[in-house]
Symmetry: C2
Subunit: 322 residues, 2 copies
């Protein structure tokens, strides 16, 4: 055949952006999963809701211009309550009902996803959950939220608020969380909480979770033990309710490796009397999970939902607190 194929190269990549963390992570991802470009920018939260939308739009234009041709689509991972077409509500960014089209001036399809669930989608298609249809993705960083992968898709619940495992009451009479509730998992076991609780109890300032985890100071051992106990309780409850095939732990705290996985596994097994514990395994995509998930959303927006399962991706490891 002599027909030209040059027209197709202009749509062989998408713009992927993860604004779920403390900074924005953007990239260009090809239809074979190659990360053609990857950049970070600060999120200008202090400048208000509109400034963040504008910063996202500028970042998308900047990334798109670096590509060879027009992007096929944009995928955007955002916090809060989100549909494919709109960022409905995000307290920490001040958003209410921001339509997907507001995030770019380019005339290309955009699909939004919840930040943690988009990371879970990436782990399920490209990462530690590849080939698994039912599991928990639990990133533990400054906060804790989970993505339940159910029948192959991240589950948002009846109204988009599912996955708040970080605020389940593991210790009914426990400490008050910043959210106002009592005994939340997050207030014991997030990286931020482990650092904070040690610092308060030891009377020193600014100790990081990674220091607490490896310390043999009795206060550090106590604080870490409480974090492990809180996690094992939450995971026992999750296992009994939802019977996941594995639990994928990620985020900064999972970089602690065996110091986290071993004691949580031991306690989880001990909590369960009549069923086996699911394997606890580390996430595979590190800090890129959200961006890679956003790339999958971008390809869905472009009408290519079948892309992903045969990609192989390069992965960077995560810092202890992401």
């Amino acid at each position: 055949m002599n027909t030209s194929s040059s027209g197709t190269s202009s749509s062989a990549f998408v713009v992927a952006l993860d604004v779920g963390g403390t900074s924005m992570k953007g990239g260009l991802v090809s239809d074979s999963g190659a990360v053609l470009l990857s950049e970070r920018r600060p999120t200008p939260r202090a400048d208000g809701p509109d400034a963040v939308v504008t910063a996202i739009s500028d970042f998308i234009s900047h990334l798109a211009a670096a590509g060879d041709g027009t992007p096929a689509g944009v995928g955007l991972a955002v916090p809060g309550l989100v549909s494919e077409d709109a960022a409905l509500y995000a307290t920490n960014l001040g958003w209410r009902d921001v339509p997907a089209t507001a995030f770019t001036t380019l005339d290309i399809p955009v699909m939004l996803g919840h930040d943690v669930r988009t990371g879970g989608l990436a782990e399920s298609i490209l990462g530690a959950g590849r080939g698994l249809s039912d599991f928990l993705f639990l990133p533990i960083g400054t906060g804790i939220a989970g993505a339940s992968i159910i029948r192959g898709e991240a589950y948002g619940g009846s109204s988009g608020w599912a996955g708040e495992i970080g605020h389940t009451p593991v210790f009914p009479d426990g400490e008050q969380c910043a959210c106002g509730q009592f005994g939340c998992l997050e207030t014991y076991a997030s990286a931020a909480s482990v650092g904070r609780r040690y610092s308060q109890r030891a009377g020193v300032e600014g100790v990081k979770a990674e220091q607490v985890v490896i310390s043999d100071d009795p206060i550090a051992i106590e604080v870490w033990d409480e974090a492990v106990e809180a996690l094992s309780l939450a995971l026992a409850t999750y296992t009994l309710l939802l019977d996941p095939s594995v639990i994928v732990m990620g985020g900064g705290l999972a970089e602690a490796g065996p110091a986290l996985f071993d004691p949580v596994r031991t306690r989880l097994v001990k909590r369960l009397a009549f069923r086996e514990a699911p394997p606890l395994i580390p996430a595979a995509l590190g800090v890129d999970a959200g961006m890679l998930g956003a790339a999958l959303l971008g390809w869905r927006a472009a009408g290519r939902p079948e892309l992903g399962p045969d990609w192989t991706v390069d992965v960077r490891s995560a810092p202890l607190v992401s």
Copy 2:
């Protein structure tokens, strides 16, 4: 047209059987949802696993013979680990890998379902969850197990063990449950546990949950208060994890009505700081939920999965402990 239609009347009903409770509940259900016949028989557990299979087969033959023609299918709700084609494992009945075909000598299609999830299916299509795709069905009787309705179908988890909300650790340092774990919801809040805990604490024998619920005896108030607290903790956790649109409470204890629903609702609202509590509503199908769900399975076995949504069903109320 002059072709005869007399042949179709012989397949206008299915046999439905629920062997999840202390007795077997069987019936014949038409393709318009009419319960043509409804009977109970004891479950001969004491006689061993094979005797129960034989008793089920005899009951199915008996019910089928009472119908006008040949049943289109059989639906069977059973406890334990179950697939559509086999009862894989049930400790209380001693079953291991019993194929669906073993439950009847009749040459008609059989579909099995998990007892609680089959009840949840019935509540979702015919009962309190009609029209809702994502909710929790929580029957509270001698034990507590739940059925998560997720995207319109009862969810079994990765290996069929989902729904064990009765054994989630609501009080981490709590009493030991019969299952061997500590602080399980069921050991505080099932009808059997409420009766048992009052009886033990008051030093009397055989007090029933329904007496504890309405008593103003300080010990009764304390025991009921702990049951309510355990339930509200489990429901707060479920809500935060899975964001159900409603929570449907059924089983014998739900017959307590406002004495159960009002305090659990109050405590649940109090436990949740940053999101609303889902409505708590009573189940609609009472003790017939399992049998009606089995009828839906029977029609699925018969190749009529579309049946159900337009049925209207008569409902009997449940005894306090079913």
